[in-house]
């Protein structure tokens, strides 16, 4: 009672808000439960779905293989499934501070090699699958992983360049970062998908997935560079002076003294950028790659399942939410540990 009086009805304004919110919840929650659970159709039959008032989860049940694996050959779905589990496993493994040792790089190299073998095949009696047919969740995860793995070192160079004493390098880095941050990601993806092929000598082609990946890397590098620069700026000047006083050459000064501190400070904003990047991979849909969101959209195009977009996108939201929410929780825990 006392808790309620203090936390729900502490003043007339608070009381009004409480009552309004209770009314809103009362109006919203029961119909939502009806729609999502009680009246929902779980069997994969569009006719039953259309007859019902509730959500049509049958769509997900029917299409989950396509949504998760895209146009990957149906009989071989265990391969992207194994690759997905392996990749998520690698992420979780590297989230544990105990394993932050030099050999973690080796674990990643081995893991990525295994994923490459699983996805492409062509050895150990597994038929070859060209990467035009990759799709679904694994594509989203691979775009994120490779994007961040390559953009991160690049961004450190850019951030160092922006704070460099050499005017040309500084101008180039500032120009690059501001240019990329000033334009929408879509324009970069368009650039990779329609403009880049025009610049290649005839006969040379780079496949679409790689081109999109390059655009994502260029994009992420600029944003990460600003985060790293923030970290570099936050280090007390004394650290720079001390490193100078030890007469260390530039790269050892940077690698041994400045960067370890700068990156440690930047962990929370870096994690935020990682999450934003994971969400941004959904934009490859616009240039016609089959990531998780685009397989969902394509599945909806089938006439029988037309018109169940709300269910489909609720499902998509949940999948993305699970990934992003766990990343943000993890980053918060990391912050509190120190």
């Amino acid at each position: 009672m006392r808790w309620a009086r203090e936390n729900l009805f502490g003043g007339w304004l608070s009381t009004i808000f409480t009552l309004l919110l209770l009314l809103l919840l009362w109006k919203a929650i029961p119909p939502f439960i009806d729609w999502a659970f009680l009246d929902a159709v779980w069997q994969p039959d569009p006719k039953v779905c259309r007859a019902s008032e509730g959500a049509c989860w049958g769509f997900i049940a029917e299409k989950h293989r396509f949504i998760l694996f895209g146009t990957y050959p149906y009989d071989l779905h265990w391969r992207p499934a194994a690759a997905t589990v392996l990749l998520i496993g690698l992420w979780i493994f590297s989230a544990i501070p105990l394993f932050w040792r030099w050999w973690l790089t080796l674990v990643w190299l081995a893991g990525l090699m295994a994923i490459g073998i699983l996805m492409w095949g062509g050895v150990f009696g597994m038929p070859y699958v060209e990467n035009e047919r990759w799709g679904g969740l694994i594509l989203t995860l691979l775009l994120t992983t490779f994007g961040l793995a390559i953009a991160f070192p690049l961004s450190i160079l850019l951030a160092l360049g922006r704070r460099s004493d050499m005017p040309i390098i500084r101008a180039l880095c500032v120009g690059y970062i501001e240019l990329i941050r000033g334009v929408p990601l879509i324009s970069l993806l368009f650039m990779a998908s329609v403009m880049l092929p025009l610049f290649l000598p005839s006969g040379v082609t780079i496949d679409k997935l790689l081109r999109a990946q390059i655009a994502m890397i260029l994009f992420a590098a600029a944003y990460l560079a600003e985060v790293v620069r923030g970290g570099l700026q936050a280090i007390p000047k004394g650290q720079y002076d001390a490193a100078h006083a030890l007469a260390l050459p530039f790269w050892r000064r940077t690698g041994l003294i400045i960067l370890p501190q700068a990156l440690r400070i930047s962990v929370p904003p870096l994690m935020n950028t990682f999450i934003a990047f994971f969400k941004d991979t959904s934009l490859v849909l616009i240039i016609g790659l089959f990531d998780l969101l685009s397989t969902i959209k394509i599945a909806l195009n089938e006439p029988a399942w037309n018109g169940f977009g709300v269910e489909a996108y609720v499902f998509a939201s949940l999948v993305y939410f699970v990934f992003c929410f766990s990343m943000s929780r993890y980053s918060r825990r990391l912050e509190h540990q120190r």
């Binding site: 936390n7 334009v183 324009s187 969400k279 969101l293 709300v310 939201s317 939410f321």
Partner: protein, 285 residues
């Protein structure tokens, strides 16, 4: 260059003067028809981008401030509802949210004949949202759709809802951080002067918090403007979407992308310039 000649693709911006030959679904701010030039089509696209960005910024700011302040409320229910909103919105890609709103409007809403009418003269149907205006009167049902009044197309409504609700979550966090950055002593002093909680927030805390809030708020406005380019995915004819059509028709991808980038860079730089001026204006003197 040799590549372009080989593929018989023209170069240069000569195409801007030629006839575009495609219709645009949304021409609320400029008259346009298919026989107009590409340049005019692109300008129509730009006005559409600016329109959605401008309205989006206003709505997102109001909503974001309200939610940010709610997160600091002493009311348990309000505080947690706001926190849940922020958590959910920030962890789902904007593109998914846009598709969701577009699906809600086109699939979830009734047809024009059974349109919802929350206020007299306002109609919500799967053809968009119609409301009365001073110039074109009250919307009326004629045949299969409404005539008269001002209309928000489903594309505009979905894009605006998506952009505003998504960005509001980020703005809420900025507002909250800004308010928390104001020293506790300020609040206590205001209470000691006998100001009420609402007065303290309005007269003492917010003006000081504004200085912390403005720089990150600027980048959210820029993000919203850049994110409005996702319009292309749900068929709202913004600048990117029209430049995309232009590229497909003329094959002049380099020029098309140059136009997009130049326009967005100009917008980005002008918003930051304005915000820097404003920031200097409210800073401690």
């Amino acid at each position: 260059m040799a590549n372009l000649e080989e593929r018989r693709i023209a170069s240069g911006f000569g195409f801007l003067g030629r006839e575009a030959g495609f219709e645009i679904g949304e021409t609320a701010f400029m008259r346009y028809n298919a026989s107009d030039t590409y340049l005019r089509a692109l300008v129509v696209g730009l006005t559409n981008t600016l329109a959605v960005a401008l309205v989006g910024v206003v709505v997102a700011t109001i909503l974001g401030t309200a939610i940010g302040l709610s997160r600091l409320s002493r009311n348990f229910l309000l505080r947690n509802a706001a926190a849940a909103y922020v958590e959910f919105m920030r962890n789902v890609p904007l593109l998914v949210q846009l598709f969701f709103w577009y699906a809600v409007i086109t699939e979830g809403m009734p047809g024009p004949r059974e349109a919802l009418s929350p206020l007299p003269g306002v109609f919500i149907s799967n053809r968009g949202i119609f409301f009365p205006s001073l110039f074109s009167g009250v919307p009326e049902l004629q045949g299969f759709n409404f005539v008269g009044g001002t209309a928000l197309t489903p594309e505009f409504a979905a894009l605006l809802t998506g952009l505003a609700t998504y960005t509001a979550a980020f703005i809420a966090e900025i507002v909250r951080a800004g308010v928390l950055a104001v020293h506790r002593g300020q609040t206590e002093a205001a209470h000691a002067l006998g100001l009420s909680r609402a007065q303290t927030t309005r007269l003492v805390v917010l003006p000081q918090a504004l200085r912390v809030i403005i720089p990150p708020l600027t980048s959210q406005y820029l993000n919203l403007t850049k994110n409005s380019s996702l319009a292309v995915a749900i068929g709202y004819p913004d600048l990117v979407s029209i430049a995309n059509t232009t590229m497909n028709q003329t094959g002049q991808a380099i020029e098309g992308i140059a136009v997009i980038m130049a326009v967005y860079l100009t917008i980005s730089l002008s918003i930051s310039a304005f915000m820097n001026w404003y920031n200097a204006h409210v800073a401690f003197k």
